[in-house]
């Protein structure tokens, strides 16, 4: 059956992440595996001590973890953080990227998991001796400890990015477990004073970096969804073949066979769409964001349908969190709401001038993986 689910991002990074996830799936997370395993260096340029890798490299790690159902904030820590940092001036960016790559700081974005990094939840006011930050950021990923936060904000109608010590930000107002098993937290910044140097980027640089971080987050979440879909179907197939009812294997009932076939068709369609997105990203397609929003909406539809079908086909076991398929279903549904839900993206898509996207043929990549 492995031939039915070829990897999207094959390679050593996938294998390593996959092995790590398999070994730690039922063990509570200790320490900071994302930084200990060096994954924060993936997107950091070589001159800043990083690996200088691509988004596809990071997607390998995302896929490996999703395949075995392990939840770690890789997208936030390894993609959003370095991409936001690169908006800073060369010296500042270099210094902090180096620290991120070597793991000497634990940096996280102070952004809501449900919103894209280009959304302003925080407003900054420029004072004589620095800035004052105000706003509420709900649902920040707090799975791993943080020493610093990157805070996207708006200053005088401009986009900006602030780098603030975690101590200064203070404790969250509330903490909770997220649907898919991460730790979430709500932060309230009430006229929080920060020094002038905390503003590491403003204007076009900040806007571009936040846009890049948003694209990356949408792409990687889509990769996570496709990997999780593969796992969900594999688990469901195994269950149907092993579980017996009325003296026969569940897999002998045509209604269930057809339901799994429908899931598989949705999975292949979703996979094709994600490959299309990565191709557009690599070719810097002018309508990349539109395509990513489209993918977000479509993947949400497929993922929820498959999650619901898998829960149903697992019967009573389908509602037990002990079962990997159930946790994967939770992951898929939670991913729908990460970085903007389908209603938000549909709103954007429909608000744009209707345009029939120019058809084009891209045969640059035919291998079934995106590399």
């Amino acid at each position: 059956m492995s031939t039915s689910f070829p990897s999207l991002f094959p390679g050593m990074l996938l294998d390593a992440a996959s092995r790590y996830a398999e070994d730690h799936i039922v063990v509570a997370i200790q320490g900071d595996p994302v930084r200990e395993l060096g994954w924060t260096a993936t997107l950091v340029p070589e001159e800043a001590g990083g690996v200088g890798g691509s988004l596809s490299d990071l997607a390998s790690i995302v896929e490996g973890l999703a395949t075995h159902g392990l939840q770690l904030p890789v997208v936030e820590t390894c993609a959003v953080v370095p991409l936001l940092l690169q908006a800073a001036g060369a010296e500042t960016a270099h210094r902090w990227l180096e620290a991120v790559a070597e793991g000497s700081v634990q940096m996280a974005p102070l952004t809501a998991l449900s919103a894209t990094p280009d959304v302003n939840a925080v407003t900054a006011r420029h004072l004589d001796i620095g800035y004052e930050l105000s706003g509420t950021v709900q649902g920040v990923d707090a799975t791993l400890p943080a020493t610093h936060y990157l805070v996207p904000a708006q200053v005088d109608g401009e986009d900006a990015i602030f780098l603030v010590d975690a101590e200064r930000i203070g404790a969250p107002k509330a903490r909770y477990r997220t649907m898919e098993g991460r730790v979430g937290a709500d932060f309230v910044l009430a006229q929080l004073a920060v020094p002038e140097s905390a503003c590491i980027a403003r204007g076009a640089a900040a806007r571009d970096a936040r846009a890049k971080a948003t694209d990356a987050a949408l792409l990687l979440t889509a990769a996570d969804t496709v990997a999780a879909l593969a796992t969900l179907i594999r688990q469901t197939v195994t269950h149907l073949k092993e579980r017996r009812q009325f003296g026969v294997a569940l897999s002998s009932f045509q209604v269930l066979r057809h339901r799994v076939a429908d899931m598989y068709v949705k999975y292949l369609g979703a996979k094709g769409l994600v490959i299309h997105c990565f191709n557009d990203y690599e070719q810097d397609a002018p309508d990349l964001r539109r395509t990513l929003r489209l993918a977000k909406v479509s993947l949400a539809e497929s993922a929820r349908a498959c999650a619901e079908a898998a829960i149903q086909m697992h019967g009573g076991m389908g509602v037990s969190e002990e079962v990997l398929a159930t946790r994967t279903a939770q992951r898929l549904i939670a991913s729908e709401f990460r970085y903007g839900d389908r209603l938000l993206h549909v709103a954007y898509l429909l608000a744009l001038a209707p345009q029939a996207s120019a058809p084009h043929v891209s045969f640059s990549n035919q291998t079934g993986s995106v590399r």
């Binding site: 197939v237 076939a261 068709v265 909406v297 479509s298 043929v361």
Partner: protein, 386 residues
């Protein structure tokens, strides 16, 4: 030598934009039914250019293009509102004659397919054997220098317009189901053939029942060996498992329906809420993008002679599903105005009603060519075992 696919695409675009008559393009652009008249005229133009048979080898009068070139060809045709190639001659029986036919059969039939002289239909399905094709019972017995055919075929597209039918007949009842079947080429004007139209839900006439009553067919019109017709049938089905036109035409349909919804939305001036239709169109757009990648991957597998597995089934199901959803959207867009004027009197123009016909016609997409239930079985067998 590597092929310059981008240059190939430009060459095609340049030709079709100049060569395809506006009146034919208008029919395609409007989503109207493409009849023998448009198919034949366009086939003749393409043939004069040397592009009459994209999927055939050069020695048989084809282009010798690889499947990626064929895919590009279909996309360019769809993007420029040109009719697809008529599949029964070029895609189905032509390749079978090239593979299994005698030199005399090749000389007699292939040029007439290329230049559009012969219009073929397919006699496979019977009232008692649809998906279970091997159970067919229309018989042929050898009588001197002729096969004598008796029986009935059904769901025969274009039989009323066709000059030839290729049909599976049972030449022996003694062997197993798949054996004792032969492939016969029969002129439609042979005495004893009766074509009776089947009135379909779309209001167009394309399907027929065809009755054979002591129909005498010259003996050398049998293709391949006697009793080995199943081999030819399988060859035909396998060759056409990945019709490149499906995905290319889907994108054309999506653009047409998008335009329709935008126009209907403007015309409704806020009196009807089209946001749900716009939302559904977005999902279709995403699915078409996914299908294009699936098709490209399957194409790559074919070129590199890797097994296709369930890809043709998945692509077929996806295309059928999206086509049905698109025409359902179109139905909602035009329904209130068009439903009560479904079929126009001759000469009257009711363009919106065409979409109602298209909606009805597209119901067959999940039935014809192997129902979606059969395709799901194929996929399920791959995942779960038989």
């Amino acid at each position: 030598m590597s092929i310059d696919y981008a240059g190939f695409r430009r060459e095609l675009e340049s030709f079709v934009r100049g060569a395809c008559p506006p009146e034919i393009r208008a029919v395609v652009a409007a989503g109207q039914k493409i009849t023998k008249r448009e198919y034949q005229a366009w086939q003749q133009i393409l043939n004069a250019q040397g592009w009459g048979a994209p999927s055939w080898p050069r020695e048989a009068g084809g282009t010798g293009w690889d499947i990626r070139q064929r895919l590009i060809f279909e996309e360019v045709m769809a993007e420029n509102d040109c009719p697809p190639l008529y599949h029964h001659g070029l895609g189905h029986i032509g390749p079978v004659i090239i593979r299994f036919g005698t030199p005399e059969q090749k000389a007699r039939f292939l040029p007439r397919i290329l230049d559009g002289s012969d219009w073929w239909c397919q006699g496979y399905s019977e009232p008692g054997s649809g998906s279970d094709l091997a159970s067919l019972s229309t018989s042929a017995r050898l009588d001197g220098d002729a096969w004598v055919v008796n029986g009935q075929k059904i769901w025969t597209s274009h039989a009323h317009e066709a000059s030839m039918i290729y049909m599976l007949v049972r030449t022996s009842k003694e062997a197993k189901k798949q054996e004792g079947i032969s492939l016969l080429l029969v002129p439609m004007d042979t005495p004893g053939i009766t074509v009776r139209p089947i009135q379909t839900i779309d209001g167009w006439h394309h399907l027929n029942e065809v009755f054979f009553d002591e129909v005498r067919v010259r003996a050398d019109n049998l293709v391949g060996e006697v009793g080995k017709g199943w081999t030819c049938a399988k060859f035909l089905l396998e060759r056409e498992r990945l019709p490149p036109a499906n995905v290319a035409r889907l994108e054309l349909m999506r653009r047409q329906v998008t335009q329709l919804v935008e126009e209907a939305s403007r015309a409704a001036a806020g009196l009807r809420d089209f946001s749900g239709l716009h939302h559904k169109l977005l999902l279709c757009e995403a699915d078409v993008k996914g299908a294009r990648v699936m098709m490209a991957q399957a194409t790559d597998d074919l070129i590199h002679q890797r097994p296709l597995g369930v890809q043709p089934s998945v692509i077929k199901m996806t295309c059928a599903d999206v086509a049905q959803r698109l025409t359902t959207i179109a139905l909602d867009a035009v329904g209130p105005d068009a439903a009560h004027r479904f079929l126009a009197e001759a000469g009257d123009d009711v363009p919106d009603a065409t979409w109602i016909q298209n909606y009805m016609f597209t119901r067959a997409r999940t039935i014809a060519g192997g129902t979606s239930e059969v395709q799901r079985n194929v996929v399920a067998n791959e995942l779960l075992g038989a």
